[in-house]
Point group: C2
Chain length 278, copies 2
């Protein structure tokens, strides 16, 4: 239970993302992250995947019609406090999600986009036209984005070879999308530090840029760390955390869930999202 929420109304978050049968990533992982934070989760699947801890074998996007029906059906029934968007697969899915977010009435600051483009194993999880639509239709709608360094490079069309290049690339992204809070996850960097640039950045009094030092954890449980971070970030934002506190808490949650993980599968195993149950 997120601190301070124990006696308040049940918060509900929605994840719109892919389905991973191994539950290390995608909507089922997101639901566990929400639950770990005392938030009830709804889920709309954008694509089924065939995958295990050893990588993604197949991606099967859902028909845009079913996805839209699903989103409408949920929104008509339940009051949704915030939305996390993950894997989107193709341009038609991006368009459905963009349309839904635009009509949802949910403040941009309660919508977090994890801009998934490729799997760690190198498979494309968002086709090229989908990437274009994400940049033109979706990024202007959401208040938060959580790219890793590779995704930041693709979104800004500029190489980001090392830690020292991250702030400038984030500034470039912010120049195009000034309302966006940007968290660059550095899990792929030598030092796994994360970088935050809040909306408005250094031009506004309350805009900040800040590094969050990370610790390299010796584990094979690294499947879906990005999914878990973005969902935990949304959970903390819904609990009322200011930007820096939300990022720090989400980063800490992911570290704890990695440390608590038990070996599952032969590849990159899942975090233990619900370690508090132990």
């Amino acid at each position: 239970m997120v601190k301070g929420l124990s006696n308040s109304k049940q918060l509900v978050a929605l994840t719109i993302a892919g389905f991973d049968p191994s539950s290390g990533a995608g909507v089922t992982a997101d639901l566990k992250v929400f639950a770990a934070h005392g938030i009830y989760g709804l889920a709309a699947v954008t694509a089924l995947t065939v995958q295990s801890t050893q990588g993604v074998r197949r991606v099967e996007p859902i028909s845009p019609e079913i996805l839209r029906q699903t989103l409408d059906c949920l929104a008509e029934d339940v009051e949704i406090s915030g939305i996390k968007v993950g894997m989107l697969a193709n341009d038609r899915v991006v368009d459905v999600v963009s349309g839904f977010l635009a009509e949802s009435g949910i403040p941009a600051g309660r919508m977090v986009l994890d801009p998934i483009i490729s799997s760690t194993s190198g498979r494309k999880l968002l086709l090229d036209e989908g990437l274009n639509r994400m940049k033109t239709a979706l990024l202007p709608l959401v208040g938060w984005i959580t790219p890793n360094v590779d995704e930041l490079a693709i979104l800004t069309e500029t190489p980001v070879p090392g830690r020292e290049d991250v702030p400038e690339a984030a500034a470039r992204l912010a120049a195009t999308y000034p309302a966006l809070n940007i968290v660059v996850s550095g899990g792929h960097l030598d030092a796994p530090d994360d970088f935050l640039r809040t909306a408005g950045g250094v031009t506004r009094a309350d805009g900040i840029t800040r590094w969050f030092p990370g610790q390299r954890i010796q584990t094979t449980a690294t499947h879906g760390t990005g999914c878990a971070f973005s969902s935990a970030l949304l959970a903390r934002l819904l609990a009322g955390d200011p930007p820096s506190e939300a990022v720090a808490a989400a980063k800490n949650y992911v570290s704890e869930a990695m440390k608590a993980a038990k070996p599952i599968g032969r590849g990159r195993g899942p975090l233990h999202h619900l370690y508090r149950l132990d």
Copy 2:
């Protein structure tokens, strides 16, 4: 964490069932139930549904090919201790699941079938030819089945109008499938009692029949009680509980999760599967 498992190897269970975006039922609910019992969950989706707490609007079965690939991909990567089977949608899905179970090498006593035929709102969730295939191909493979009274009537092709007709109908089912442990959930009866008839029934020394008295809980959180019961039953069996203890514990878990539920949605809301997190 299931008592006695704290220092042993991480148990993994697989659910093969439908996807409910409201997470009250289907694979995402099953994963939460497994997690509540300290068991890591994998999931293969048989059908996407469009539904909320107010009922099922649409059912979209998955292609048998993707389902089979998903099951094989998981089984090659992770050691699976037990399987829960829920909604199967149609005969082609039943055949894929039957084929997978037959080749899985998992003992029948660790496979629980929740024979979902219709939704509470009356929508068919298993087409007629699927029902036939379930009876001929699937029921001989699994060690446990958890029908409600309506499903028992359909499976035995005999009306089961009241509590007093349950034992005879269960005996009729056992006559056809002597290796099956049968738990009839009485949630739809005046008194929500459950009836257990173990494999071999009264003809074997260790075969038993027993009623488990239930309590009527005043709540609208009744969405997916059958899903939760069958998953909890599997979890308890994997923990080593004998049949009667497993049924009693699963029934108690469902009651506690119903009592702990907070209002979500305008219809029949979800249980609070992870109430231990509060």
